[in-house]
Structures are given as structure tokens and as C-alpha cells.
């Protein structure tokens, strides 16, 4: 069965989620959103999620809208989560995982949304840190990147909006005790984790049609490879069917 990269990513994301997870998505998150709703309809019926600025808890919106804050996402929701609750769920680790990303990510999973270059000097300005500091409060940070190239995957970020695994003992002591930091990364090319002794980014699977070499070429640092790298599992027809019920307008196939 034919599928798009976005559909593959959504299905792969769903399999990374667990029953009883509590999560949220923000702007530009069609792919994680479809993954979440697929998980709810397959192996994770007890997963709860908040849909961005709309505050919809467990939205059942009939169509994928382009703005997470769209009030149409309240359709079929169970609660209108105010920002107060969202921030409390972040601080206290009640959200078991969150989808975060950035304009730069480095080999230890630190992310940057503030500036490429020196913010005090010449730089390219980003939208701001928003919730990236929560990489140090959320049990599992799942990194979702819409692109995979050496300008995004850099050796060292120019500004630490959210810290990865390169903080040493002192910075690790500032993390909430339940927090594991970034644990997983998905891009249009591959999935990665941080399962090396020094917690560096490691290739976990390469999406169908791509190669290990290609992924390493598109990564601006030495991406760890330990042993043979499997191909990311293609979506089953059952899962694709559900994804297309959620994504009724075919946004993920554009």
C-alpha cells in the first residue's frame, strides 16, 4: 500500500506512545497529532492529549485544521484545558511526554529556538523558547523535526532553549527527578535515540527509501551508529486506514 512520508512518520510516532501516556501538541503538529489519535484508536485507548492553544482535551475534531489553537478542535473534547493547567502539567511531570522541536538540535539533544548566530550580534532570529525548557521537566521529550539537514542538526546549538544530555552533573541536578530528557527523535529520514554510553544521538531506524549514509550526510555531527540499523517499519494497511479517517482531507498526503 502506498503511503506518504508524513503518514509513515505519524504511524511511527503512534508506536512510540504508550497506553496511559498524557501528552500535548502545539503549532505545526499535524503529524504528531495523527500519531496520537492513531495510538488512542489502537494500543493506547487510555492515552490523553491536549490540543495546543484550543485547550481541547481528547479532541475528536472531524478534520485536521492548520492551527492548533483553532476552537474547532474543541469538537468532541472532554475538557477545555486553560493555560494554567497546561503549565502545571508541564512543571509537575503529569504530561508523561511532549513533542518538542527547534530550529537547531545538537548531538546531545539540546535545542534552540532563539537565534542562529549570536543574539547580541549578527544572527537569524527564531520565534522564541516557548516550552523548550521543559526538556528538563517532562519525563520523555519526543523530538519531532520537520526537516533533516546539517543546518538543523548541528554539533552545538548557538543558544540553549532546552537542554539535552550535555549538561554534566551540575546541570543534571537542576532537572526534575522524574525527567529523562530527550529520548527519541523523528525526522522525514529516520528515527534516533540517545542510547550511547555518553548519551549522544544514535541512529535507530532509517525510513524506507533512505540509507544510513544519506542520514549521516544530512546530519551536521557524527551521528552514532551501533550495529546494524533496521528500516523503519512500513505502516500496516489497518493503521493507514485509521490515519486516513483522522486525516479526512489528506493533509498528510500533500
Amino acid at each position: 500500500m502506498d503511503f506518504s512520508t508524513a503518514e509513515l512518520m505519524a504511524v511511527t510516532i503512534s508506536q512510540e506512545l504508550r497506553d496511559n501516556d498524557f501528552t500535548a501538541v502545539g503549532t505545526a503538529s499535524h503529524i504528531p497529532l495523527c500519531g496520537i489519535r492513531l495510538a488512542q484508536r489502537t494500543h493506547a485507548p487510555n492515552l490523553w492529549f491536549v490540543y495546543g492553544g484550543s485547550g481541547a482535551l481528547n479532541s475528536k475534531a472531524r478534520q485536521l485544521v492548520e492551527m492548533a489553537a483553532d476552537f474547532r478542535n474543541l469538537e468532541g473534547a472532554e475538557y477545555r484545558t486553560p493555560l494554567q493547567d497546561i503549565i502545571d502539567f508541564e512543571f509537575t511531570g503529569r504530561f508523561t511526554c511532549l513533542f518538542l522541536g527547534g530550529m537547531q538540535i545538537d548531538q546531545y539533544g539540546s535545542m534552540n529556538m532563539v537565534a542562529i548566530g549570536d543574539p547580541a550580534g549578527k544572527h537569524i532570529r527564531g520565534p522564541g523558547t516557548v516550552g523548550l525548557a521543559f526538556t528538563s521537566t517532562i519525563p520523555r521529550t519526543l523530538v519531532y523535526m520537520q526537516h533533516h539537514d546539517p543546518r538543523l542538526f548541528v554539533r552545538k546549538v548557538d543558544f540553549v532553549s532546552g537542554r539535552g544530555h550535555d549538561g554534566g552533573e551540575r546541570l543534571a541536578s537542576y532537572r526534575q527527578p522524574w525527567c529523562k530528557g530527550p529520548t527519541w527523535v523523528i525526522t522525514p529520514l529516520a528515527t534516533m535515540d540517545f542510547e550511547t554510553p555518553d548519551r549522544r544521538m544514535r541512529l535507530r531506524s532509517v525510513h524506507p527509501g533512505h540509507t544510513v549514509e544519506e542520514v549521516r550526510d544530512q546530519t551536521g555531527f557524527d551521528l552514532a551508529v551501533t550495529g546494524p540499523v533496521p528500516t523503519t517499519e512500513a505502516p500496516s494497511p489497518e493503521r493507514l486506514k485509521i490515519i486516513r479517517e483522522i486525516d479526512v482531507d489528506g493533509v498528510l498526503r500533500r
Binding site: R41, A77, E78, R80, D85, F91, G93
Partner: protein, 295 residues
């Protein structure tokens, strides 16, 4: 594909593993929306040595648990029976020093719970509590500190973290989404502050009904561990929008409590009734239904 799990349990099942010594909070303000069915079940099962973190204005449930010998420590902002006056068992226990009392006040309980709800290490107050005797008698709660931005004095208070909270609402679904008809008092803060949340509801409704009006839900199910179907679960207090309080019954409680005979009350209405269904039968359907014609 697996099924979504129901959280519906009997009161006995829901409360079974609350250990002696647990920190317990029952929500509600005065005689409104207090989860009395759950509190009675606590008395029935004989849980002991509780540390009670009450809401800032409450009394009946605390007074009853004290009479049942279930309380060893109590935070106090206001513990009383509202229009009936002081809480007799609380007063007696305080005067006879049979429990440890930590005197605090309304903002201290509220902000202490909010700090727990928000994951904050402590809360900085303006220093006005230093004008009272509370920091002298509760030195573990009020610490004078310096505001790092202004250099001026401030007061730090610690988070208050209940192990379990009991909350009553008009409606809930089996996943824990609850609707209080009288709006929120501070149930949002309480449910986020507590490690476990046990929700009792007058009525269990379909999830589809909840989903028709997501902005009406006052407690999101994701915070709730157990749901208990408890008709007249706030009795003898009121459940906003559903029924009023039973005044003669409250007077009966108060009279017995003043005479130090709350044991008689508990024997009659709690211990003699194996569960809440029997308790309600003992009160009588006609009497209960009359409470719905309120206002």
C-alpha cells in the same frame, strides 16, 4: 484494539488502600459539595492517624473524622459548622490536645495547595503575615526571606501536598470527567495538588454527554483515579444545583456533638449501615427527595 478503562468503583474499593497516616483533603466549601459519602466510608473502614489538609472554610467532615478517632494532625484555617457555630469535636480535641494542630489561614492553605498543583518549591508572600502570631506558633510554615529583586522582606510558605483528595460533583463519566453545577470553587487546584483523586458523583453520565460541552467540565478525567457513583453523596450538606442541606439532620449532629455523643451519631448513620445505599434508606427516600425542592 484494546478498550478504554472505566474508573468506576464502589466507595469501599476506591478508598480501600488509603493507608493509616495518609494526608487527606475532602473538597467543598462549608456545607456545599463536601464528599460526605466518601468520608463516611473512611469512618466505616476505620482508617486512622490521618493528617488532614482541609479547604480554607470547612468543618463537618473534619469534626466527624475527629470524633471517629481518625485524625492525628490538622491544618486549620477555619474549622466550624458555619451557621451552626463551632465544630464541637474539633474544639474539644484542640482543648484536650488529643491532636496536633497547625494554625494557618485561608491564603496559606490556598497557595500551599496551588504550589503543589503548580510544582513550585515554595510561595513568596508579601510580609503581612509577620504582623500576626501565626509565624510564632507555626514556624515550620512561615519563614521570613528576602525578595531577591527588591531586597525587601517577604514570607515563604511551603507546598501542601495531599496524598489523596476526595471530591464530589453533580455529574461524571466513567473516565473521571466531572461537572459541578455551581461552578468551580478550588477543585481545579485541589485535584492537581493531590497524588490521588477520588471523585464521587450524583449521576454517572455517558462520555458523549460530557463531550457535547467540553467548556462545562470542571474536573478533567486525566487527573482522576477512581469514580464513585454516590447519589446524595454530599448529604447532609448541599450539592449545588441538585439539592439543599438537611437542616434537622445537621442540628441532630450538632446537638450530639456538643454533648460529646458523636459516637451515637456514627453508630446510627455510619457503622450500622453497611454502605451508603443502606444509609440513604435509613434516612428515607421521601425526606431525601424533599431536599431537591430547594430555593
Amino acid at each position: 484494539m484494546s478498550q478504554r478503562r472505566s474508573k468506576l468503583k464502589s466507595a469501599a474499593e476506591a478508598l480501600a488502600d488509603i493507608p493509616d497516616g495518609a494526608k487527606v483533603l475532602a473538597a467543598g466549601v462549608h456545607l456545599s459539595n463536601t464528599p460526605m459519602a466518601l468520608v463516611r466510608q473512611l469512618v466505616r473502614q476505620g482508617t486512622k492517624s490521618l493528617e488532614i489538609i482541609p479547604t480554607p472554610a470547612t468543618g463537618l467532615w473534619v469534626d466527624m473524622l475527629i470524633a471517629a478517632g481518625a485524625v492525628s494532625k490538622l491544618y486549620v484555617s477555619y474549622v466550624g459548622l458555619e451557621f451552626l457555630g463551632l465544630a464541637p469535636n474539633f474544639r474539644r480535641a484542640a482543648q484536650e490536645k488529643t491532636l496536633q494542630i497547625v494554625d494557618v489561614d485561608e491564603p496559606t492553605i490556598f497557595h500551599g495547595l496551588r504550589a503543589a498543583a503548580s510544582g513550585l518549591p515554595f510561595v513568596a508572600f508579601p510580609p503581612f503575615h509577620l504582623t500576626t502570631d501565626l509565624p510564632r506558633t507555626s514556624p515550620d510554615i512561615y519563614k521570613e526571606i528576602i525578595d531577591p529583586f527588591t531586597g525587601k522582606p517577604a514570607v515563604a510558605i511551603p507546598p501542601l501536598c495531599p496524598d489523596v483528595c476526595l471530591v464530589h460533583v453533580a455529574r461524571a463519566d466513567i473516565y473521571g470527567n466531572g461537572v459541578s453545577l455551581g461552578g468551580r470553587h478550588m477543585e481545579d487546584v485541589i485535584t492537581k495538588a493531590s497524588r490521588r483523586v477520588i471523585l464521587s458523583a450524583e449521576e454517572i453520565v455517558d462520555n458523549a454527554e460530557i463531550c457535547r460541552h467540553p467548556t462545562h467540565t470542571t474536573i478533567p478525567g486525566v487527573l482522576v483515579d477512581s469514580v464513585v457513583h454516590a447519589p446524595f453523596g454530599a448529604y447532609p450538606g448541599a450539592c449545588p444545583g441538585v439539592y439543599g442541606y438537611d437542616r434537622p439532620h445537621l442540628l441532630e449532629y450538632n446537638e450530639l456533638a456538643k454533648q460529646n455523643k458523636t459516637r451515637e451519631y456514627l453508630d446510627r448513620y455510619v457503622h450500622a449501615q453497611a454502605d451508603e445505599a443502606m444509609m440513604l434508606k435509613a434516612i428515607g427516600a421521601q425526606r431525601l427527595e424533599a431536599l431537591r425542592n430547594y430555593g
